[in-house]
């Protein structure tokens, strides 16, 4: 381009045109050449831009098409998934329908069952009521065999009976006999509690009556020996595996000789003299049940009661009761210590303390056995 321009300028210079005009034309030509150069550049750049932007658009469109295809495929998959979901939904709806029917049928069955249960409940409640009523009546019968505390108090300086059956009727009971200068007193703990215990207590009471009132056997060891034989015989324990029997502590007091005699089947006698606690253990076997020997020889213990004496007969219910902060048994040592602590107090107060302490101890726990504690002052 520059050479062409130089050639043209040379031609102008050689043409004989006035130099002023030549200069103006040359300047104009140079300007035109500059403009042409710029235009050429712009055209080239635009051409390049067109080319690259076409490529860019083409590629972008391809990418967009690819993305579109991906989206369409994803859409198709979504549609398929949606169809599957609809089918699943329909299945779920049918299942729900079936479940509803099953549920309704179950509800009907449940309603019937509830009705049946309520009917049975009513029967049971009625039976329970009858049974409770029967047991309450049995209690009346049992009460008849229990000695009147006033009777006991009349022969002792002071006395209390803390008696707390676990159920309505009790397997624990106390027995009292007095004729002239002879007093016999026993605390008996028959196997079990409730109705079975009460049955045993009736049997024991009857046999003790026969032994003491009819046969006039007053010596404690002999009373227990005889009672053992009678129980064994009555319950046919030599032939069967029948285990029922009773633990008991029995004393005879001769007010004339100021002597007290004790025999125990597993249960001990505790007595206090001059603030000192004495313990005479019972024999290690019960009356009836357990060991199958025909004869059982209970030991006889003699206690001098010249000095003022407070003594206690009891079942194992109090010390075996669970309670306290750690839910443990009250325990025998604690029970004995308690008796020692309160023995000098009036019997009514002792009874109240035993009762209060028991209630505090068993606060969050159920009573597990019948409770019987007899306290007497001679």
């Amino acid at each position: 381009m520059q050479k062409e321009l130089q050639d043209i300028i040379a031609q102008i210079q050689n043409s004989g045109i006035p130099s002023e005009l030549q200069d103006r034309w040359a300047k104009q030509l140079k300007h035109l050449e500059k403009q042409a150069e710029r235009t050429e550049f712009k055209l080239n750049r635009l051409g390049q831009e067109k080319q690259s932007l076409s490529a860019f658009l083409k590629e972008s469109l391809e990418v967009i098409e690819e993305k579109k295809a991906n989206i369409e495929q994803a859409n198709q998959e979504l549609l398929q998934a949606n169809t599957r979901l609809q089918i699943a939904e329909e299945e779920l709806r049918q299942n729900a329908e079936e479940l509803k029917i099953i549920n309704e049928s179950l509800e009907l069955k449940i309603a019937e069952r509830i009705k049946e249960i309520e009917r049975q409940k009513a029967i049971i409640e009625e039976k329970n009521e009858n049974i409770t009523s029967s047991i309450n009546y049995a209690l009346n019968i049992q009460k008849v065999i229990f000695p009147d505390i006033r009777e006991i108090k009349s022969v002792f300086k002071d006395a209390f009976v803390f008696f707390k059956p676990r159920d309505i009727v009790s397997g624990d009971f106390y027995w009292f006999y007095q004729k002239e200068h002879i007093i016999i007193l026993a605390a008996i703990d028959c196997t079990g509690h409730g109705v079975p215990g009460a049955f045993m207590s009736m049997i024991a009471n009857e046999f003790l009556y026969q032994i003491v009132h009819e046969k006039r056997i007053y010596t404690p060891d002999r009373i227990l020996n005889t009672l053992h034989r009678k129980i064994r015989k009555a319950l046919k324990q030599e032939q069967t595996n029948h285990q029922d029997g009773m633990d008991m502590a029995l004393v005879k007091i001769n007010t004339k000789t100021r002597k007290m005699y004790f025999a125990g089947a597993k249960n001990p006698l505790i007595y206090m003299q001059e603030e000192e606690m004495h313990l005479i253990k019972g024999d290690r076997f019960p009356v009836g049940g357990g060991v199958k020997e025909e004869e059982r020889r209970f030991a006889l213990h003699e206690i001098d009661i010249e000095k003022p004496t407070t003594f206690y007969l009891f079942s194992d219910g109090y010390q075996d009761q669970f309670g306290g902060p750690k839910g443990k048994k009250f325990m025998t040592p604690t029970f004995r210590a308690l008796l020692h602590k309160i023995h000098q107090q009036p019997c009514a107060l002792q009874e109240r303390k035993l009762k209060n302490i028991f209630e505090v101890w068993t606060k969050d726990y159920e009573q597990i056995d019948d409770i019987l504690v007899l306290g007497l002052k001679i």
Binding site: F41, R45, E49, S52, K58, E59, S60
Partner: protein, 378 residues
Amino acid sequence: MITAKNIHTTTPENITALIDECISEGFSPTLALVFTSVIYDLDVISKPLEAKNIQTVGVTTSGEIQDSEVHEDSISIMLLDIDPTHFKVTLLERNEESAFINSQNLAKQALATFEKPVLLLFSSGVRIDGQEVVEGIKSITENKVDFYGGLAGDNLQMQNTYVFTNEKKSDNAILGIIFNEGKISVKGVSTSGWEAVGTEKRITKSEGNVVYSIDNEPALQVFSKYFGLGDIQENDVAAVIGVRFPLQLMRADGTSVLRAPLVGNKEDGSLVFAGTVPEGSMVKFSTEPDFEVIEKTIEQVADFKETQMQDADALLVVSCAARKLSFGPMVEDEIQGVQNTWNAPLIGFFAYGEIGSLKNGTCDFHNETISLIVIKEK
């Protein structure tokens, strides 16, 4: 007032005579800003300046700018008559340390030299990460010191770029002029024009300024595919991609900066950018601006003059090599427009990266911008 005079030559041997010509007019320069093509022996350029006791700040280019003209394969020198106590020239070579540490050291020197410094800095090194250079300065000055400058060029050969002084030259160093801001005002503005195009893409693998993959495809292949560029030679990356399709790097704060690739690696498909491109960041392609953007640049510069710097003793332009290629002969219109705004001596060069601030922004590393720096003695 600083007196500035420009000399331009394509014959280094003429430099002494040209300086003498200036000095004979009663002008006594102390500092020379030298922007030269890499084709010249740099010692031949600096020696005559040293002989005249003028401190040289030399940078190789991808085109030289002087007043309103753009040159290639030439030497442009601005001689400045500034009180030598108002500035300090320092060249810090990178030995083992990173560009970050290297520029930190420059910043420390600046703070140690003047109470309130302002920096002009130029870096050599084709693979240098301009962002690291900027971050190193910022880490020391905490945005309290303004700094402007750019990365040296080598006519888009992407082989070796240099900075030099009277004493040293280096292809891996940072060269700074530390001005006393109390005496000399140095302010700048940068503007671009490249527009984002297409959808956002993710940098899926990168290390510093080396990008390995975009959307999981080799980076070089992505550009080639999108713009139909075919087989790109490694050293043509700057000219083919960097100029025309730089990346808009979206930053977390919503702003964006341009990042131009300079060289490529066909083996692993990676591209070395002029600045950091973090892995995981989002980018868009850009396309070249319309020629009308030149008018906008001139308007923006006029606005800068109006609001920031009404008078100028000297003007320095660091324009991206991309602008020269993209605007072709019209790039002179842009330079001319800038110079006409103040009508002061102007010098500059086409660079591989610019350091300056976009309108209302802080100093940052850019590509594809024209960065104008205005110098005025207070």
